[in-house]
C-alpha cells in the first residue's frame, strides 16, 4: 500500500491511498484503502490521513476518521491523535500497521506498530526526511 497527504499554499489538505490488497485474497475482499474514514480521510479543520496495514482492523476502528475527530473534538495535536489511535485503539484490538498524518499547520505524524514503515516527508521548513525502520 502507498499513500500521500499534502498541504498546499491555499491551506488545503488532501489525502490519498492506493493498494494491491492482500496476498491470496478471495471473495472480492476489500481492505481499508478505498474506504473513506478507514484508510483515507482529509478535513481542513483537522488533518489528512492515509493508512497501511491489516485493513479489517482499520475498518472496524474507522482509524483515519478517528484521528481527525480526536483533533477536532478533543483538541488533540496531530501526533497525539495519530499515535494514540495506532498504539491504543488499533493495537488494542490486535491490528497492525500505521498511518501518515499531516495537519493544517504542517505538523506531521507517522506512527506504526510494525517493525518498519516506508515513509518520508518534506516539512514546512523544506527539509526532507526518508525513513524505513523503527530505529530511523
Amino acid at each position: 500500500t502507498v499513500g500521500c497527504v499534502a498541504l498546499d499554499q491555499d491551506g488545503n489538505l488532501a489525502a490519498g491511498t492506493s493498494t494491491g490488497g492482500m496476498t491470496n485474497k478471495r471473495f472480492g475482499r476489500i481492505g481499508d484503502s478505498p474506504i473513506i474514514g478507514a484508510g483515507t480521510y482529509a478535513d481542513n479543520n483537522s488533518c489528512g490521513v492515509s493508512a497501511t496495514g491489516h485493513g479489517e482492523y482499520f475498518i472496524r476502528e474507522v482509524i483515519a476518521f478517528k484521528i481527525c475527530a480526536k483533533m477536532e473534538l478533543q483538541g488533540m495535536s496531530v501526533d497525539s491523535a495519530a499515535s494514540s489511535t495506532i498504539h491504543g485503539d488499533l493495537t488494542t484490538i490486535g491490528g497492525t500497521g500505521g498511518v501518515i498524518a499531516l495537519d493544517k499547520n504542517g505538523n506531521i505524524s507517522m506512527p506504526f506498530n510494525t517493525a518498519g514503515m516506508y515513509r518520508g516527508y518534506v516539512g514546512t521548513d523544506g527539509k526532507m526526511g526518508i525513513l524505513i525502520f523503527k530505529s530511523d
Binding site: D10, T17, S18, G28, I30, G31, I35, I100, Y118
Partner: protein
C-alpha cells in the same frame, strides 16, 4: 500564503534491517525521494494538494517496489485487484475505486470518480465501465506481475511465510 508540506508512505510491515540488502534499501529510499520531490515541487509551484497527492502516488504505483499498481500482490486466483481512494479536505469530497483489474493508475480513477461522478466509490466491472467512458486507457492484468510478488504468493499458498492470517 500557507507554507506547504507533504508526507508519504510505502506500506508497513515486517521490514527487518537484516533482511533488506543495502542495494534494495537504496532503491526504496531513492523512489521515495523521487515521489516526494515531485509532490513537493507541485506544491511550491502553487499546485493544489490534490494534484500533489495524485502525482506522488502515481509514481509509487508505477514502481514495482510497492504493493500498489505495478508490483501489486496476487489474489487467490492468480490475478491482481487494485483499490484506491482520495479525499479533498476543503470540500470533504471523496472518490474511490475497488477491485479494478486493468487500470494502470487507480489513484487517477479515484480522483475522476470524485470529480466526474455523483458517487463516492465504484467497484469492479462498473468502475472499469466508468473508466472507459472517461477515456482511460487499459492495461492487461499481467502488467502488474512481478517475480517477487509471484514468489511470495507461492510461499503463502504453501504456508511457508510463517505469518498468521489476520482478518479482524
Amino acid at each position: 500564503q500557507q507554507k506547504v508540506a507533504i508526507v508519504i508512505h510505502g506500506g508497513a510491515g515486517t521490514i527487518e534491517k537484516s533482511k533488506l540488502t543495502p542495494e534494495l534499501e537504496k532503491e526504496y529510499r531513492s523512489k521515495l525521494e523521487e515521489a516526494l520531490t515531485i509532490g513537493h515541487s507541485i506544491l511550491t509551484e502553487g499546485g493544489s494538494s490534490l494534484d500533489a497527492v495524485v502525482s506522488t502516488i502515481a509514481i509509487l504505483e508505477d514502481s514495482p517496489l510497492f504493493n500498489a499498481g505495478k508490483g501489486a500482490v496476487f489474489t487467490s486466483d492468480g490475478h491482481h485487484e487494485l483499490d484506491a481512494s482520495i479525499m479533498d479536505g476543503q470540500s470533504l469530497n471523496a472518490g474511490a475505486v475497488a477491485s479494478v483489474k486493468r487500470i494502470k493508475n487507480p489513484i487517477l480513477l479515484a480522483r475522476t470518480v470524485m470529480e466526474k461522478s455523483p458517487h463516492v466509490m465504484l467497484a469492479g466491472y462498473g468502475a472499469e465501465v466508468f473508466a472507459k467512458e472517461q477515456g482511460f486507457s487499459f492495461v492487461e492484468n499481467d502488467y502488474f506481475f512481478t517475480e517477487k510478488r509471484y514468489e511470495y504468493w507461492q510461499k503463502v499458498i504453501e504456508g511457508e511465510t510463517g505469518e498468521a492470517e489476520k482478518h479482524g
